[in-house]
Amino acid sequence: MKHIITIAKNTLRETIRDRVLLSALFSSIVVILVTLFIGSISLDQSTRIIVNFSITAIYALQIFVAIFIGSMLIYKEIERKTFYLILPKPIHRGAIIIGKCLGLTATTILVTFFSTVVLLLVLFIKGETSYIGPILVSVFYSTLESILLILISLFFSSVTSPIMASVATIAFFFIGHASSIMQRIFMTTESVILREGMRVVYYTFPNLEKFNIRNEVVYGALPSLTITLTTIAYALVYAVFLLFITNAVFKKKDF
C-alpha cells in the first residue's frame, strides 16, 4: 500500500511539473471566462447555454488529461528506460499500475478543482447561484468517466506506443458514447449478426453515456441518489476489470 502511494505521489509530481498539463488547464479556464464574458454581453444568450458550455470545457480538459497524458505515462518509462531503475526494486508490478492510475486521477481531480472553482466563482459574482449544485453533480459524473478513460489509456500505453494508445483510447471513447444509441438502432434490424454483434459491443465496452448528465443538469434535473449510486458501482466494477487485465499484461512483460 505504501508503495502504491509512493508511485502515485511521483506520478502526480511528474504530471504537474509537465507544461502540457498547465497549458491545458489554462486553456480550459480561458474558454470558461470567454464564454461567460460573451454570455454577459449578448443578452439573448441564456445562462443555461453558458453553463452547459463551461462544464463541457471542464469535461474536455478531463478527457484530454486521461487520453493524452495517460497514454504517455507508461510508454515514457519504457522508452526512456526509467523502468530499469524501478522494476528491480522490491515492488509488485501491480502496485506500479495502481499507483500510476491513482496519481493521474489525483492530477485530474486537481485540474478539475481549479477550473470548477473559477466557473463557480464567476457565477457567484454574477449572482447565478442556482447552478452551483447541478454543476458539482455533473462534474462528479464526468470525473468518474475520466477515471475509466485513464485506466483504458494506461492499458493501451502498456502494450503499444503513445500514438496508437491515444488512437485506441479515442476509439474506445467514441464507441463507449455511441454504443447505447447504436444498440437501440440495431435492435430493430432484421440481421441477427448485426443485432448480436451490437449486443457484444454494448456489453464489452463501457457505456460512457451513463456519465453524461450535462444537458439534464442545466434544466435542474438532478439524477436520483439510486441512479448515482448505480453509476458509481458501474464505474467501480469496470475499473476493477480494467486494472485486472492491465496488471495481467504488465506482469508478464519483458523490458
Binding site: K2, Y84, L85, P88, D254
Partner: protein
C-alpha cells in the same frame, strides 16, 4: 555456497524467435565474490543482466539468486542494480530521486542514508539540482547511488565505469572494492579489461551469446601476453570455428 545460479539459460526476443541472443549459459557465482562478465558489443551481457534482475525472463532454463526467483520482492530488497547509461526522471532532483527509491526499499532513516550514499559517490554538492542538468559522470554516480542505498548483499552493475574520466573511474573502483571487502557479491558487465584484473575474482568471456571460458583473470591470461590478448584471441578463434568473417589485421 553459491549466490547466483544460472542453469542452461537461453533468451530470444519475440521479434526474432529463431535467434538466440543468449545461448544455453550456465554459471555459479560464489557468495561474496566479484564476477566479471566480459564480452564485445552485442555479446548478450545486458540481456543476461536484465534476466538476473527480473526485468525480463529466460526463454529456457532457470535463474536462482539466493534460492529465489529474480522477481521475488523479498530478494529484491537486498539486491542492487545499476543499468548501463541509467535514465532518471528528469523533473526530479538527485535527492528527490533517492528519496523515491528509499521509500520503495522501505528505508527508515531516509535522510541520513541518502546523505551518506551521496557522500560516498561524491554527489552531495549537486543533490538539489534537477537531474536534467547532470553531466554524464554525475548520472553514472547517481546510478550507483540508487543501487547501493539499500546496502545490498548482491549488486549488479552494467558497465559502471562507462563515461567516467580516469579520476571518476578510480573513485568508483574504490567504492566497488570497498563493497567487496564488506562481503557483497558483485556481478559486473564490462569490456574494459584493465579494470577486470583489478576488481574481479572470476570472469567469463561471452561472445554472440555463448560463454567461451570461465576462470580467474590470472589463469585465463596464462599462455597469452595479458588478459586483453587472451580475450581477443579466444573470441577470434571461436569466430573462426563458427566460420564468421574476421576483420583483417587482428
Amino acid at each position: 555456497m553459491y549466490s547466483i545460479e544460472i542453469k542452461n539459460v537461453s533468451k530470444s526476443y519475440p521479434k526474432d524467435p529463431e535467434i538466440q541472443i543468449v545461448k544455453n549459459i550456465s554459471l555459479s557465482i560464489k557468495h561474496g565474490s566479484v564476477f566479471g562478465f566480459i564480452g564485445p558489443n552485442g555479446a548478450g551481457k545486458t540481456s543476461t543482466i536484465k534476466m538476473l534482475v527480473g526485468l525480463s525472463h529466460p526463454t529456457e532454463g532457470s535463474i536462482k539468486i539466493d534460492n529465489k526467483s529474480p522477481d521475488d520482492p523479498v530478494l529484491q530488497k537486498k539486491l542492487g542494480f545499476m543499468p548501463e547509461s541509467p535514465a532518471f526522471y528528469q523533473y526530479l532532483t538527485g535527492y528527490e530521486f533517492l528519496e523515491f527509491v528509499a521509500s520503495l526499499f522501505d528505508i527508515k532513516d531516509t535522510d541520513e542514508r541518502i546523505e551518506k550514499t551521496l557522500k560516498e559517490v561524491d554527489l552531495l554538492h549537486a543533490k538539489d539540482k534537477r537531474i536534467r542538468t547532470y553531466s554524464k559522470g554525475m548520472l553514472q554516480r547517481l546510478g550507483l547511488a540508487q543501487a547501493i542505498i539499500n546496502n545490498p548483499d548482491i549488486l549488479f552493475l552494467d558497465e559502471p565505469l562507462d563515461g567516467l574520466d580516469p579520476l571518476g573511474r578510480a573513485e568508483i573502483k574504490k567504492i566497488i572494492l570497498n563493497l567487496k571487502s564488506k562481503g557483497t557479491t558483485i556481478f559486473i558487465n564490462t569490456h574494459i579489461l584493465g579494470d577486470v584484473e583489478e576488481i574481479c575474482d572470476t570472469v567469463s568471456i561471452i561472445d554472440k551469446g555463448e560463454i567461451l571460458v570461465t576462470g580467474s583473470p590470472s589463469v585465463l591470461s596464462q599462455g597469452y601476453k595479458d588478459l586483453e590478448d587472451a580475450f581477443v584471441t579466444m573470441i577470434q578463434n571461436r569466430r573462426k570455428e563458427r566460420g564468421d568473417i574476421l576483420i583483417e589485421g587482428h
